[in-house]
Symmetry: C2
DNA sequence: ATGCTTCCGTGACTTGGAGTCATCCATGAG
DNA sequence: CTCATGGATGACTCCAAGTCACGGAAGCAT
């Protein structure tokens, strides 16, 4: 295509000819751990690769040898953080048995507690979603699409098989909507920074928060839930509203 | 409160005693324009303040004098970009008269065209939403909340007054859900253009896109729309599905 | 006009962190 | 013990954000 192939192409170097020694993998892992803490505490930009190295008592160059760049390091950190989260279907068996929307409820009410005891990976995912760079964000999206770390796809199929989700929609549309709204709702729940609109008022009112969760789930159920007896969320309040609505609809006709 | 007022406090300097001269405002405006182009073309990180200055034929220090920092400059750029977008209720009168969901439809189908003729501010808003820094993102959210540049609040009130939206939900919940899903849906719609890697399937299928828009709006209507004759979207397909659903619900009881 | 003051623009300079590389060293194979 | 390989090192380069002392321009007063 372009120039003349004057020199025979050198075989590309820096390709692993054999699996890395076990020591190397362990070190990588240590670096990722320390980096995760640093990124979580300082944010992406304020985190210094040199500081991470100093914390570990190793040379900065070593980190670059392993990960190539600060972006590359963060991407590994991000993947580990996200993989450490539970998948939807990891909910206890009795919750799963209760149904699709009960599983969502289960995870939403636990979000806050999980944050307190394990805030570091959550903060990392927040940085990956909003606080780094569009180029990196693109990599992250590719990762999320191919790996589906929350198991949204399987979870939606679960809901479809149980007849709790509408069958007349593209499944990708359901997955997307679930991903979008759950992500944003959880962000709003957890960080006043991101959504000052929805939760700014009630700093210390857990019951108000729970009401929001219920309302959100109810909206979600209307949006993508199938309309049949088995799909009605087992929670009393939601069932009550759905029933009232049904009456209203019936009267209308 | 804190220490002893040992020294009489110096009157703070660097406070504007009078409005900036008109020349200054014009220059600010020029800088913002050039910066917007640079950020849009290169992304936040790759954009160089020095390049922007060189493009304008002025000194780099001048930009810092006006905006304090690169972040500060970007924030001004972001505000201008977002303010340049239409508000929901800027739709033509006949579209407004057709109803809430028709207005949404109107804007969604136009998103693509608007992108082509005016891609720079869109790209800026994308950078502001995903590609800078959490600290800046926080400022941006505060701005979006206080200024409501898309007029979402007024638009939701419009829908409520027309009886097209549910009255048994907190209004902020509706606003948040509308903001979240519209933003993400538009991003998905548009980044398919900008970045064929993500949604590479329907690159050249406008009718598929329109089907997606209809499906999305239908979901949204189920989620937050009131159930009454006047709320049904005027689009035939949506009305048909809503009617079928009503029948199904009635049978169920 | 002449001086006075305040603001604006300038570009050389400082700061500081990402990324590099020649060299060293630890380890394993023969 | 020697050699070969690849990880570890840290001083070094590069580069862009941000600073500042200075000079000049524009308003203001006399």
């Amino acid at each position: 295509m372009s120039g003349i192939a004057s020199n025979p192409v050198e075989p590309p170097r820096y390709i692993r000819h054999q699996a890395p020694r076990p020591r190397s993998e362990a070190k990588r892992s240590h670096i990722i751990d320390a980096a995760m803490r640093h990124f979580a505490e300082n944010g992406y930009h304020a985190a210094r690769v040199g500081d991470i190295a100093a914390t570990l008592g190793i040379a900065k160059g070593s980190i670059f040898q392993h990960f190539g760049s600060k972006d590359g390091l963060f991407f590994e950190v991000y993947k580990r953080a996200v993989r450490s989260f539970s998948k939807y279907l990891d909910a206890p068996a009795d919750v799963r048995a209760a149904g699709f929307f009960d599983v969502l409820y289960y995870w939403l009410v636990r979000t806050e507690h999980m944050l307190r005891e394990d805030w570091i990976p959550y903060r990392i995912s927040l940085l990956g979603n909003y606080g780094t760079d569009l180029v990196l964000k693109r990599e992250i999206n590719r990762f999320l699409t191919t790996e589906d770390p929350y198991g949204t796809g399987a979870f939606v199929r679960f809901g479809l098989e149980r007849g709790e989700l509408r069958k007349d929609m593209d499944i990708e549309m359901i997955v997307s909507i679930l991903d979008w709204t759950m992500e944003r709702f959880q962000d709003a729940l957890l960080t006043a920074e991101l959504d000052p609109g929805l939760f700014r008022r009630q700093g210390e009112m857990p019951e108000k928060k729970e009401a929001r969760i219920r309302q959100f789930l109810e909206v979600l159920q209307r949006a993508v839930g199938a309309v049949s007896a088995s799909s009605v969320h087992s929670n009393r309040q939601i069932r009550r509203i759905a029933a009232a609505d049904l009456v209203a609809r019936t009267k209308m006709s």
